[in-house]
């Protein structure tokens, strides 16, 4: 059985691509066969975050249009044996993705024995975002502790419940988990930022992970290595915990408390 997981949010720049890359890598590290697909047609980025940008020959749209086979377009990851990337096309044609085309690719991935397909959604609620979530079995809703991100996420939760294959079949929509990213414990403690509890309460769905704001993410994107592979970074460790929870095992949430300031820092400031 192939499980299709969409990583979505409504708002742009909240960490969908960062999360898709790390979650796909982490699940594959557990021995599962994983394909991660960039649905952001016209704004390809997942290839850069995965560090395979120079190996893109064919893309998702080429496969949909029959210009390449799926096998030709899937880029095999160099670090994790069972991980494959399908890049977005750089075409400006908004209708390049079709529902039938996406369905055909997903069916073929299932036939090829993939355990998981991770769909990295574009921002917005237009066609690309719609198709990324339409066939999903589960959703990871990426949200930042910030008003516009929370509101947009609620909008996305509404679409997952009503505009997906599961909802049209009467299966009750696509179940979602929250992934809270760019979390800043010190600012939460100072009352400047919404807390995990606030966001969970407002959106009313379970949290699958909290990823702290971390310099490691920038380093990771600079070098083209998903941050989950950086075991020294908080964000990397938080993504590793999230993978374990996504695969069904409970694990306590870490990095919720601000590092305690030492005496000198308290007296003389940071």
């Amino acid at each position: 059985m192939t499980e299709i997981i969409v990583v979505t949010s409504g708002k742009g720049g909240v960490g969908k691509t960062t999360s898709s890359a790390s979650l796909a890598t982490g699940i594959a590290q557990q021995g599962k066969k994983v394909a991660v697909i960039d649905f952001d047609v016209g704004l390809r980025n997942l290839d850069l975050i995965m560090g395979c940008e120079r190996r893109v020959v064919y893309d998702f749209v080429n496969v949909i249009h029959g210009e390449a086979s799926l096998k030709q377009a899937l880029i095999k990851d160099k670090r994790v044996e069972t991980l494959f990337v399908l890049a977005a096309s750089q075409t400006r044609d908004k209708d390049a993705l079709t529902q039938e085309g996406v369905e055909r690719v997903l069916d073929e991935l299932a036939k090829e024995g993939f355990d998981y397909v991770i769909c990295d959604s574009p921002a917005g609620i237009e066609k690309g975002a719609h198709l990324a979530m339409y066939f999903a079995d589960r959703a990871v809703v990426v949200v930042n502790p910030e008003v516009s991100s929370v509101r947009d996420s609620d909008r996305i939760l509404g679409l997952l419940a009503s505009k997906t294959r599961r909802s049209e079949r009467g299966d009750g929509g696509v179940p979602g988990h929250l992934l809270l990213t760019r979390y800043h414990p010190a600012r939460v403690e100072a009352g400047e930022m919404l807390s995990l509890q606030d966001v969970e309460e407002l959106l009313g769905i379970p949290v699958v992970g909290v990823i702290p704001e971390s310099d490691g993410v920038l380093t990771a994107s600079n070098t083209g290595v998903p941050v989950i592979l950086d075991e020294s970074s908080n964000a990397g460790q938080a993504y590793a915990d999230t993978v374990v929870r996504l695969l069904g095992e409970p694990r306590p949430i870490r990095f919720l408390d601000a590092p305690k300031k030492g005496f000198f820092k308290r007296v003389f400031g940071s």
Partner: protein, 87 residues
């Protein structure tokens, strides 16, 4: 807004204010979800009519569509300000 309210609102942590605003807007958008697109516009026009008679806030009016089997029921409720409900 009185001076006390002003001082109080200045002391309220920004995150608490964000949460309160989100609580209201999310509830409102959920209530309208799945309803026809004209609902928000109709809500504003109804509000304009109501305001000719009583002064109420935009968030004192709650309008949503209830699905009851075959029938759709449009529910409208207005929280009237104290002492002005008698008409």
């Amino acid at each position: 807004m009185g001076i006390l309210d002003f001082l109080r609102s200045r002391r309220e942590p920004p995150a608490a204010k964000a949460k309160e605003r989100l609580r209201i807007i999310v509830a409102q958008e959920r209530a309208n979800r799945g309803g026809p697109d004209y609902l928000p516009l109709m809500r504003n026009e109804l509000l304009a009519v109501i305001r000719k008679y009583v002064h109420v806030d935009l968030d004192a009016i709650d309008i949503h569509l209830e699905r009851n089997g075959e029938h759709d029921v449009l529910e409208l409720s207005v929280a009237l300000p104290d002492g002005k409900g008698g008409g």
